[in-house]
Assembly symmetry: C2
Homo-oligomer: 120 residues x 2
């Protein structure tokens, strides 16, 4: 079974998570046989290892981790690869794939630019 | 003259800014008569007031501020309206318009979900 983890920063304000829940719902509607879960770097739960372990216990053999970050700062460059490596060590039979962050995806940057042009 | 400020969080890592520079370039290519500048909440320059003042000194009468944040935490809910109010007090003849953050824009959330479906 394949699964997807949408990985976001986290914040103290519970309403902060709403856009990520919307993205999760949109992805789930398109991927009815693929679990799509959220995980957070800090201040919200579950963390990445907890989300991955739960999916693996439910039979996931391939997990794609999608960082819902606009840009790569220290968190993505250093912390996230270490988190992913730790999951790989604990679950060597599971394939983990870490995608680029959304701020490196041309189609998303174009969608943002289109909206800026309209919002002017 | 109209102008746009793309407002991002900022980070210590200078490469962090790259996606925002790409969005700026895409928007500038579509809006040849409208200045499009970046400003930052912290750790990078210029700040919002400095960017707005420079545009006003160059003749901007209407400035649209676009928060390039995925979600609204304490920064956007509290800090940004205060920053915008301070600019309004200093420049009462300029119209300032603060848009929702990109994480509240349906077209952008759909573009992200589309990419997740393809990235799986």
């Amino acid at each position: 079974m394949r699964a997807i983890i949408l990985f976001a920063h986290g914040a103290r304000d519970p309403q902060w998570v709403q856009p990520f829940k919307t993205i999760q719902a949109l992805a789930r509607a398109r991927l009815v046989d693929t679990p799509v879960e959220l995980a957070f770097l800090e201040m919200m739960r579950p963390d990445l290892a907890t989300a991955a372990t739960a999916l693996i216990e439910h039979g996931a053999k391939q997990i794609t981790i999608v960082p819902l970050f606009m840009a790569q700062g220290g968190h993505l460059k250093h912390d996230v690869p270490q988190l992913v490596d730790a999951i790989r060590r604990d679950h060597p039979h599971v394939q983990l794939h870490l995608t680029p962050p959304i701020g490196e995806v041309d189609a998303i940057l174009h969608a943002i630019a289109d909206w800026i042009v309209d919002a002017r």
